[in-house]
């Protein structure tokens, strides 16, 4: 099976699992002022950066669609946002060496900011009602901080899995 297809098939349920967890009462225990971390976003960023824009945007599209079903948004809202994030991070595949702390934090910081800006922008165009009408409010900053703190740990955890690492997958496939 093509390595990209294998990655997409495995990644989509994993990120969906995180999305279900995020919507459950389990995450209420770890929320800060009602704000939950977006773990599925961090995982998408890691996979997209390590595996290219084709895998990244495909995974982003389907997981965005799942999030649309789970949330109040119209279908297509989050699939558009996550496809774009997967595509953008995939374009920069391999451009930087991922160190344990700084790169994960920076990637997550830009990814969260971009996600928030796109949510606000799309809601204005398509008249989708958001919880927060102000872009840079407390929810915004808390989510950014929370995501950045968790990013290093999640990146380190995902590096352990060969399927998400292109070099290791190349060795495994005998290329």
């Amino acid at each position: 099976m093509d390595k990209n297809i294998k990655l997409v098939i495995i990644s989509i349920p994993i990120i969906a699992f995180c999305q279900f967890l995020q919507s459950s009462s389990i995450f209420d225990f770890i929320s800060v002022s009602g704000v939950k971390p977006d773990i599925s976003l961090i995982i998408l960023i890691f996979i997209a950066y390590n595996n290219g824009s084709v895998s990244g945007q495909t995974i982003g599209f389907f997981n965005g669609l799942i999030e649309d079903f789970l949330s109040l948004s119209s279908l297509g809202f989050y699939s558009l946002i996550r496809t774009t994030l997967g595509f953008l991070y995939g374009i920069f595949e391999g451009s930087f060496t991922i160190d344990p702390v700084i790169i994960p934090v920076l990637f997550t910081l830009f990814g969260t900011i971009l996600k928030k800006i796109m949510e606000w922008f799309l809601s204005s165009i398509f008249s989708v009602s958001l919880l927060n009408t102000i872009l840079f409010d407390s929810t915004f900053w808390i989510e950014i901080l929370y995501n950045c703190i968790l990013s290093s740990f999640i990146f380190a955890l995902l590096k352990l899995f060969k399927i998400f690492s292109p070099q290791d997958r190349s060795v495994t496939d005998g290329i």
Binding site: S25, D28, E67, F69, L70, S74, L130
Partner: protein, 280 residues
């Protein structure tokens, strides 16, 4: 055809991106229209069982940990409840007398309309996965008689308080938009002064809501702590359901009406069980 194929293969990433964006925009445009919400309703039925599973897992986990502390708390609550019961027995005698008087007065005024409510109990199984929207998912759907735009209430400290309304229905699950969502509007009234207004969510996670369009002259009649109830106007929400308490009153010179900040009766952070009102 060959040229197109070569172009698509050469620019695979961009082509795929354009395709996904086109599909996403099409979906947003299509699913914004009412007839196509059936698709979302089907999705609710597909994904909600998994959400219910994770919710049950979380509930078991928290209940196991909290059970020890709850035992002591339960003992104290039992004593308080016993004392309240004695008081309520005394009050109930008065209520029976007042009810009879009320019936007689209604007959005199020729009130013929009967309001019969049926309550559908439901459990909160999931909330919004992100921080951008605010919704609850309940474990009842069209198979249980749930319909769109039904009001949802819950009990808190002996009061029945408004939670929100149903906005999406699947076969066995439904989605509720809560009171504090900025797109939720409720026709309301102050219980004591009887002034009308409109309650709207502030769109923030701290659950505060605001009542607007209240006559400025009413400022003398309103006090902090006054209860706010649904007025029943517009017939979307049944009347006399508690919404919250007056927290503060703002009267600006440039505004033709008062702005009242309201503390909801319901503690949304602890919401587990609700009742869906069937007015038909």
């Amino acid at each position: 055809m060959q040229k197109i194929k070569r172009f698509l293969t050469k620019h695979k990433s961009i082509s795929l991106y354009i395709f996904f964006i086109f599909v996403s925009i099409l979906l947003i445009i299509i699913t914004s229209n009412a007839p196509f919400t059936e698709v979302k309703g089907a999705g609710i039925d597909i994904f909600s069982p998994a959400q219910e599973f994770f919710s049950n897992m979380g509930t078991w986990f928290s209940e196991t940990i909290n059970s020890i502390g709850k035992l002591q708390q339960t003992k104290l609550e039992l004593e308080k409840t016993r004392a309240k019961l004695l008081e309520y027995e005394r009050i109930s005698e008065n209520i029976i007398r007042i009810k009879q008087e009320n019936l007689q007065l209604k007959e005199l005024l020729d009130f013929s309309r009967q309001i019969n409510f049926k309550y559908i109990p439901a459990e909160v199984i999931a909330k919004q996965p992100g921080n951008t929207f605010s919704i609850f998912k309940l474990n009842k759907g069209s198979n249980d008689g749930v319909r769109k735009d039904m009001a949802v209430v819950a009990q808190n400290e002996g009061l029945t308080g408004l939670v929100g309304k149903i906005i999406d229905v699947g076969s066995n699950y439904c989605t509720v938009i809560p009171l504090y969502n900025s797109s939720c509007y409720v026709a309301a009234r102050l219980e004591i002064s009887r002034n009308d207004g409109l309650v709207n969510g502030l769109g923030e996670n701290n659950d505060n809501i605001i009542m607007t369009n209240v006559n400025k002259d009413a400022i003398e009649e309103i006090q902090s702590g006054d209860k706010i109830i649904t007025s029943g106007l517009g017939e979307l929400f049944p009347k006399n359901i508690y919404i919250g308490y007056v927290e503060s009153i703002i009267s600006e010179a440039y505004n033709s009406s008062l702005e009242i900040y309201v503390k909801p009766v319901i503690d949304f952070a602890k919401l587990e069980y609700v009742l869906i009102i069937d007015t038909e």
